[in-house]
């Protein structure tokens, strides 16, 4: 863990490259505080939406402790925001499971889901249509296309079988295509 006396650009950073291989990618992780400064407030906001104001703080602590645990071993630093939101999302699911409630009140899913990749903007036209979908379809679409979850995990998040998750996703996508056509 302690890498005493290594400097930027030391040969030590590049030891994984085979001789002559072109491997310019060196993971440089920013100070963890930078992640807090830039994303903590948004993570808290999303968690308040997902689990309610009262329980958001617990999920927030769990999210960032899990992130700290994994941080030094991360081998990519390109989408740390997305990575944090993925962890927050899982912690929200854990929270709902632990409480024995039906996981993921769907109103929050699209909101959470939109944040990680940043690509489908929450306010975009498509997402307005997604928000208008029936709850199950809406959650399935959000989890699949914004959180990039596989069917099995969508099923876990929604508390249904993978088959049912696939069906919800399919129905949701069909409806979106129809409305966008």
């Amino acid at each position: 863990m302690l890498q005493a006396d290594r400097k930027w650009g030391d040969a030590g950073d590049l030891t994984l490259s085979a001789p002559g291989a072109f491997n310019p990618r060196v993971t440089v992780l920013p100070p963890f505080q930078t992640l807090l400064d830039e994303h903590a407030a948004d993570v808290m906001g999303v968690l308040r939406g997902a689990v309610g104001r009262e329980d958001a703080e617990d999920c927030f602590q769990e999210t960032f402790l899990a992130a700290l645990r994994a941080y030094p071993k991360l081998d990519r630093a390109e989408n740390l925001r997305g990575w944090l939101f993925t962890i927050a999302h899982r912690k929200a699911i854990d929270h709902h499971r632990a409480n024995g409630r039906r996981p993921l009140p769907v109103a929050e899913v699209a909101e959470m889901a939109a944040a990680p990749t940043g690509e489908p903007e929450p306010g975009g036209e498509v997402w307005a249509l997604v928000r208008a979908l029936p709850p199950k379809q809406r959650a399935a679409v959000a989890l699949r296309y914004a959180c990039d979850l596989p069917h099995a995990e969508i099923a876990a998040a929604l508390g249904c079988t993978p088959e049912a998750a696939r069906r919800s996703l399919h129905e949701g996508m069909k409806r979106l295509r129809r409305e966008l056509a």
Binding site: M1, L2, Q3, A4, D5, R6, K7, W8, V28, L29, P30, P31, F32, Q33, T34, L36, A40, A41, M44, E57, F60, Q61, F64, L65, L68, R69, Y71, P72
Partner: protein, 183 residues
Amino acid sequence: MKDALHRLAERAGAEGLLDVAYADVDSPFGTLLVAATPRGIVRLNLPNHDPDETLEELAARVSPRLMEAPARLEEARRELDLYFAGRLTEFGLPLDWSLTDGFRMRVQRAIAGIPYGQTRSYTDVARSAGNERAVRAAGTACGSNPIPIVVPCHRVLRSGGALGGYGGGLPMKEALLELEGVR
């Protein structure tokens, strides 16, 4: 939000997930940044040097698990306050020498032993570090001291008494020596 972050820093520390804690500490010279690992103070950034650069250096060279955690630096703040008030002559803070090694570290450890209100020459500290002739290297070691003030490189002068150099600027070196009743 602020409370949540404080609690996070506390829990991270308690669970061994906080490798470097840091905090700002006011001084008569401007804001210092003090950073500590669980072993002790590892870095002190003087006001004339960009603290963000120092944090990035710590993330790269010690650990990226680095968070602002003032509660973990209370003792450092207390001792520094007393020192600047002229009421503390010997720091009791544990030190972490991770950011230095070899001859540099031997020089810096020798500097740590120079008593309050006294000065040594670059030749003296080179000798204490085991190589009397490495005076230039001793000068470089002073210049790369990761924990200035606490490791009092301001007490090292040129033979003959000229000030030599200081990372925080010569006026600061002079002021620290004055505070300690030298010059």
